[in-house]
Amino acid sequence: MTTAPKYLEPQRLAKLHGLKLRAQHIVEGFVAGSHRSPYHGFSIEFAEHREYAPGDDLRYVDWKVYGRTDKFYLKQYEDETNLICNLVLDTSESMLYQGPDAALSKLEYAQCLAVTLAWLVQQQQDSVGLVTFDDKVNTLINPASSAAQLMQIIDVMESTNSAGKTATGPIFHELSERLKKRGVVIIISDFFDDVDSMIAGLKHFKHRRHDVILMQVLDPAELEFPFSKSTMFKGMESMPELLADPNSLRKAYLEEMNASIESLRSQAQGLQMDYLLVRTDESLDVILNSFLSSRMARIH
């Protein structure tokens, strides 16, 4: 892992043209530090306990039960050997935003993130699929664990054009129906949409017993609003223009933005969904490392 951060820093990835090259670079980075990597076994839902048998992995011993019963029991996970992971990528116009201090646009960063996750899942011999959407589902690749799946995912993402508004609510409802097999659904988006509609869609996922992970990708400029000069803000996704003095608006904007993030985070937690705020100026491995570590600790 010592070399991984350099490989996975946004500034470095930005120098590489094309998602394939970036994917290759990411994989190289992860391989270089994989022996100490925490990137395995994520997203398996606990199902039941069974008694320990010699040769079982001691990591799955439920020590709490041992403390109560003085017997070794292992946590048994559902579909432990056949994880299905669907990556749901927002390709709406707002994802094209790239702030003045960011090396990658939100979409580029989200693609890199998706590739990384896909590779990690594939490394576990599990199935991974891809959905891209804006105000409609643009692409849907069913999960598979074949070696060619990753390349197909990369090809699809690379050829996807960004356009249209974000319409998460209807999309999530649709996907809840279309993704038949239960699995992990990782939604990568800026979630610039109506929260109530979005939450309704997410509840549908939950109803279908999917394990949903929300990764909100935001540009640092969107989180800090660092502008000082008088600026004409041209709205993306058909939003209107606005001439404003950023200094006088900063506080109010940040209040609105933080309230939105907090609202999404709290409602996601209420639905037992994992939520991760991803800044596009942060290194991929740092984000994933902390997120997966905390997720593993919570599950095990």
Partner: protein
Amino acid sequence: MLFWGCAAAAPILIHLWNRHRYQEMQWAAMQYLLAAIKKNSRRIRVEQLLVLIVRCLILLLFAMALSDVSCNWSSSLGTSLSMSGTTHTVLVIDGSYSMDYQSGGTSNFEKAKQMAKDIVDSGAQGDGYTLILMSDIPKVIIAEPSYDAADVLREIDQLQMIHSGANVTPALAEITKILEKAKRNHPRLNRNRIRIISDLTKNSWESISSQDATELLEKLSKAASFSVIDVGQVATGNFTISDVQQELPFATIGATTNFNVQVDGSGDPVTTQRAVRMYADDVFVSQQTFDSSADTATLRFSHQFDIAGDHTVEFRLDEDSLSIDNHRWQAVKVKNSLRVLCVAGQPGAAKYLAFALQPDRLQYPTVRPEVVNQSALLELDLLQYDAIMFVNVRDLVQEEAKLLSDYVYAGGGLAFFMGDRVQAENYNNMLASTDGVNILPTKLIGPSVRGNYRFDPREYQHAMLQAFRGQQDGGLLITPIWNYYRTEKPENNLSNVSLWLDSGDPAVIISKPPQKPTDEQHKFHLPGRVAVINIPASIQSVDRTLTPPESWTLFPSWPSFPPVIQELLIELVRSQGDSRNIQVGSPLIGRVEEASTDSSVDLIPPNEQRVRVALETVNGSHQWMFDQTEYSGIYQMIDRSRLDASQSFAVNINTRESDLTRVALEDLPGTLNLNSDVDNGSLSFAGIAGGSATGLFRLLLIMVLLLVLTESILAWRYGTGAA
């Protein structure tokens, strides 16, 4: 100020300009930005407006602090910004000689000068100063506001006290003129303050309650702030030589000249004896003491001059706190004898007169009469004579009248004794003409009817009759008079009649001819006196209506005749010494026999700063005049064409100012804003300054600083800081 004030609009302009200068940017999180605008648009506008106002105020106050307010009082902005701008200070220093009062080794005048300098020192850059020396006639030292403090300080340093009194009312009038002029010519001076530094003596300030002063004060108080700074002393005791009188108006060699010295005042109770010393030509002559517990004393000094010519006499009183009035000078022109020309209208007519003028035959007679016929009149240099007396002269020709007029206006004394030959109409035409020579004090009517008349001295009020008071045996009252010459009674001034007849007609009339201010020919002259004596000086005047003709009077042979003639002569020449002994402020007038090459004479005042005075030639006479007699003492005229012909003049103070009684402070109008805590010289000038511009400058800068701080906090609070 308006120009600098425009800088305050800069933030508004920048704000408007910035609305047209902006960067463009694609923005994804637009919904949050719109929500922020929707919820906070009103607050943001208020905050922006507040910051804009603060920024404008910063620039406005900064401009006010750094710049002169160049708007005048009449403008509304000037009124609203009256706290700013520059100040015109009118400094008025009391220049009366009472300010020479010494206490603690320093005179009040020096204290006043120091205070004036302190006021200038405490002023701000751009302030203007004018300077007035308050005296009887205020002396404007700096008439137009001077912005050079060093120059003003220099002028104050060079100020010299005038040896006269002072009057506050003319000073107020002069201040009014200066302020009006400054308002027109120096609009940037939008605040006025008047600082009068005085010892507040009653004589100088008693006119403050007059109608004129009240009106001036009311007018000035609307345009300026007043402050009167009291540098006077508590003690008012002071002795002064108030007058010196030479008993006879002339002095001759060999004769004793007497001086009566008047001392007035009140002193400290410790010193009971004070001395007055007499100096003749700076040589001590004698000393007399007087009891200083009395308010007044008259001392008689005598001296005999041995050399004819100009002499000076000084009387010095023991020194006290006010030195100026302890000295008094007298210029004395000592003659060999008085020369009197007696013009006889007929042979022997002046015999009694000449005898009366010189009754004794001394080696050095006081009076030397010369009897001539009328025909010699045009051939003589009349200016060589101290007096000319006409005795029963029938008539005069125009040339003679003109000659006599010039003689009188040159200071000579002239007397006309009436008689049976005198032609009234001729005298009236020649000497009492309204459009020609007019030196006769009355118009002649003609001889009276025969009767039995006597002199009526009327309480001996006239100076000429003082010698007869209580001397009824002298024969004046019983002088036999049967005829006399009738003249009109002087309409304007009956006091010109020295002696009356019991018929109610004047017997002797003495007066000065009127001074004509527009008369260029006589502008230098102090005219001599002219007398008309209606009683003949010769017994040759007879009433020819009687057979045989009988004399008009026995007066020429009567014992009262010589003393009357002697007293008459004294009256005729009394004013001749007046031109040599004047008061401070009066002009010195003199005459030289020959003009120097540059037609000027030198005059050396007491301060020894020699002044060149131009000569004017009028009718062949070379005359000069000097009117800058501001200091008491001896003034010496040097005729560079004849160094032996120098003349001395004594200029003395009017001792009215020697009364150090102070005006009642409670009687002073409140608008004067009196500062009287100066006995120990510890007056606070911060209070007098009335808030200096330096303080205002600091106040404005502090306000700017606070506003800058406020702006920073607001900017942080509303924008930058929140990030």
